[in-house]
């Protein structure tokens, strides 16, 4: 047993990788034991995903050595890496939208599993193994983000792997799915399979991992057994300075109504009514698919409203499209940054300037200097890690892409800022900065609507919390007084007694 514990599955030594303008990895060394769960944490842009992509053959290293399962690996392709027993769940989903879930799991391996029938049979087994009831015949495009992620996980597990890399696999999983993932990871460990687990959710890191490596600015800061870390240690190592708390003070309460929503109906919503006060952060809590996103999309004019009224400052306003909403000072950070937020082939500055683009034209001609200045301002205040403002936004790390979207909306100085999962994939330091931004807005008389699947975030930041269940608002809570169980029970649609039992 002791022998086996010392057995090393992966050794990377002195790995260096440079992209134009950035040294993404600077002399990185890391060792992973067989049958262990090895966590990697670090700020956005620290180089975590790049390191993993070198392992899986998406990028080639500039320098350094890699020994996997006793074999020195010079160059590799994603296909070869898989054959060696290394599979990876990428941070950005990589499924073929127009194919079924089952086909995606055995993509390119149909012959190994005896054609279509075998594919669906085997895919069913793979999904059962992770406790998921997704129908293998559903098209991936019809699945929610969290279910897509489950398909990715099933796919990675369907290879006979010795090492499975999970790059933020949980960023949009529901609680039940999260529990299933925990079970899977424990099972893998007991089978002697190693897992590299990357996440910004430190709870998971402490729950799952045996060893944790902290990275910052392309370097390894430290690797230790998880017991030797405290949460605050880990955070200060990641951000390079000490941090006392994860959430700022809750903003003070106000109760002059800013927006009154009455009886809104859309395709998925029934009779939504609530009031948003001036200077308040209003949290929406509910399961994925409960209708939280639909509520804010309706307010922003992204979905058609069939009935009901929206009042701003006591006056009924017509919001037929996002432009109407923006004119009234409403802004919206959507949940899916790649599909709904960013224009990927464009530069950081183009993506930041877009919401205020019209104002940058003088006599019909674009003032490019002003565009640059705006971008530089937000790059600085939000600490967006990018070589220049002209860099293509698609080459930024996930968290930094999110910051670009937030910068875009700060520029219109919103009266109402709607944020749908604003901190997904964002590191602890940057999260704190986003919380401060939210506070800043409400302290200057604006309001924030916050949707988040991370309960601590909603409960610590909001002045009021509404629970959403099945397209309806079914409860209102004061997060300072209500208990987590109470709120969750309401969001799940069960009576409190039922939940307690």
């Amino acid at each position: 047993m002791a022998n086996k514990e010392n057995d090393i599955i992966l050794t990377m030594t002195g790995v260096v990788k440079t992209f134009p303008g950035v040294k993404a990895l600077d002399d990185v060394s890391i060792q992973v034991r067989r049958g262990s769960v090895h966590g990697i944490v670090g700020e956005n842009g620290a180089g975590k995903s790049t390191l993993m992509k070198i392992l899986s053959g998406v990028y080639t290293k500039d320098k350094g050595t890699i020994i996997f399962d006793g074999e020195t690996i010079e160059t590799t392709t994603p296909h070869q890496a898989m054959q060696r027993g290394l599979s990876i769940i990428y941070q950005e989903l990589n499924l073929v939208n127009t194919m079924t879930a089952g086909e995606n799991i055995y993509l390119g391996r149909f012959s190994e599993v005896n054609g279509m029938k075998g594919t669906h049979q085997k895919a069913r087994e793979a999904l059962d193994r992770i406790g998921s009831d997704i129908d293998t015949w559903t098209l991936v495009q019809d699945l929610s983000v969290s279910r897509k992620q489950m398909v990715e996980i099933a796919k990675a597990l369907s290879f006979d792997s010795k090492l499975i890399i999970m790059d933020e696999p949980s960023s949009s999983l529901t609680q039940d799915e999260m529990k299933a993932l925990a079970k899977i990871i424990n099972q893998l460990r007991s089978e002697g399979i190693s897992v590299i687990y990357i996440s910004h959710k430190l709870d998971e890191i402490f729950d799952f991992c045996d060893t944790v490596t902290v990275m910052r600015d392309g370097k390894v800061i430290d690797t230790r057994p998880v017991e030797e870390f405290t949460r605050m240690d880990m955070i200060s190592m990641m951000v390079g300075r000490s941090i006392e708390k994860e959430f700022p003070e809750r903003p003070r309460k106000v109760s002059t109504p800013l927006m009154e929503v009455e009886g809104i109906k859309t395709k998925k919503l029934h009779d939504i009514s609530f009031t948003l006060n001036k200077g308040e952060i209003l949290g929406l809590v509910g399961l994925v698919g409960a209708g939280r996103t639909e509520i804010v999309r309706a307010l922003f004019g992204a979905d058609k409203i069939k009935a009901g009224t929206i009042k701003l400052d006591g006056e009924v306003v017509a919001i037929r499209n996002p432009r109407d909403a923006m004119k009234r000072g409403i802004s919206f950070v959507p949940e899916d940054r790649k599909q709904q937020g960013l224009i990927l082939p464009f530069s950081v500055e183009n993506n930041i300037s877009i919401a205020t683009l019209k104002n940058l034209y003088k006599f019909g001609i674009l003032d490019k200097n002003k565009e640059r200045q705006i971008a530089e301002k937000h790059i600085k205040t939000l600490k967006i890690k990018t070589p220049t403002a002209r860099t293509a936004v698609e080459s930024l790390s996930g968290g930094n892409q999110q910051k670009c979207i937030i910068g875009r909306w700060m520029e219109i100085q919103p009266r109402i800022l709607i944020m749908d999962e604003p901190t997904r994939g964002i590191d602890v330091g940057a999260k704190y900065e986003i919380y401060l931004l939210m506070k800043d807005i409400v302290e200057n008389g604006g309001s924030v609507i916050l949707i988040s699947s991370e309960l601590p975030e909603v409960l610590n930041m909001s002045n009021r919390v509404l629970t959403v269940c099945d397209g309806r608002i079914n409860g209102e809570f004061d997060p300072e007084k209500a208990s987590v169980d109470e709120i969750m029970a309401k969001a799940l649609g069960v009576s409190v007694e039922g939940a307690m039992a």
Binding site: Y59, P322, P334, L344, I354, L357, I365
Partner: protein, 319 residues
């Protein structure tokens, strides 16, 4: 260093190809550089580049316009038939209006029907092309009309078709003028940027306050209008307005745009580069004609060129 060189080669491959082609043809076939042939090339260039410039906007906006062929045919036959009843200036005006209106109609069908994907747009424009082309045939009863049968004054058409100013043909000057306007429109105006952003990601553009429907209407209308201009220039030169005048122009225009380096994925591209692409397409057919390559073989070459251009575009995106 090596990487930078590779990048430059990929970036300017089209230009290099044009130059190489010119040199090779000039060496093998001296007739190529006679002034007669040069004028010939300039004349062929006009109509194609005009359609291709309009097409560039549609492709940047994330669509492909197959209807230009039908629009060109329709505009030609209607314009010619109107010279006698309403005079030549009026006829040109109505012709251009029909071009723009046809493009506008395409965009209405796309935005109203909600069939907004690239593939749906492609087939809608194909359907519209058949519709416009069919209308042209119905209108004329399938007969080709000649400018010389016109009784009233048609000097304007003669000027457009074969007039020169100094060493430049009038059609070339029209082209330069349109290029200037479209270049400024694309690179400096809000709508020009909005077109790129819409082509880059329609959903995100809509959620950041860009009027996506308006943008779509604008690109298709530009394309229809440019097809109208092209049609008038073309039939003025050949002095006949056939109801199938535009046939084949859609593919050559797409070829010119893609060879010029505008991505079929949408979001990126430039009218200026389309000019290079169109030049290559014209030079290619001209030199192949001179070298005695059959029309069938020329089609094979064009097909290969299109595939090569799309391939190169995909390579650019890789690391």
């Amino acid at each position: 260093m090596n990487k930078a060189l590779m990048k430059a080669v990929k970036e300017y491959l089209v230009l290099l190809l044009v130059l190489g082609l010119v040199l090779i043809t000039a060496v093998i076939e001296p007739k190529f550089i006679t002034s007669g042939n040069m004028t010939n090339i300039m004349r062929q260039f006009g109509p194609l580049i005009m359609v291709a410039m309009g097409m560039t906007f549609v492709i940047i906006g994330g669509y492909i316009d197959l209807s230009v062929a039908g629009i060109m045919s329709l505009v030609a036959v209607v314009t010619l038939s109107l010279i006698d009843p309403i005079g030549q200036v009026g006829a040109i005006f109505v012709g251009l209006l029909i071009g723009a209106a046809a493009g506008f109609l395409n965009s209405l069908v796309i935005t109203r029907s909600g069939a907004m994907t690239q593939a749906e747009g492609l087939f809608i424009s194909y359907g519209m092309s058949v519709l416009y082309g069919g209308t042209a045939l119905l209108y004329t009863g399938g007969v080709t009309n000649h400018l010389s049968y016109i009784e009233s004054n048609y000097s304007l058409f003669t000027l457009i078709g074969s007039g020169t100013v100094g060493i430049f043909s009038v059609s070339f000057i029209i082209f330069l003028f349109l290029l200037l306007i479209l270049y400024i429109f694309q690179n400096f105006t809000y709508t020009g940027r909005a077109i790129c952003l819409t082509g880059g990601n329609k959903t995100a553009a809509n959620l950041t306050g860009i009027n996506v429907n308006r943008t779509i209407i604008i690109i298709w209308t530009i394309s229809g209008f440019m097809a109208g201009v092209s049609s008038i220039v073309l039939f003025s030169r050949v002095t006949t307005a056939s109801p199938v005048l535009g046939k084949g122009f859609e593919l050559n225009a797409i070829l010119a745009v893609v060879v010029g380096g505008t991505s079929l994925k949408g979001g990126k591209g430039s009218v200026a580069r389309t000019v290079l692409g169109a030049m290559l397409v014209i030079l290619l057919s001209n030199s192949m004609n001179l070298l005695g390559v059959t029309v069938y073989m020329q089609n094979v070459m064009k097909g290969l060129l299109l595939i090569l251009a799309i391939w190169l575009d995909n390579l650019k995106g890789r690391r």
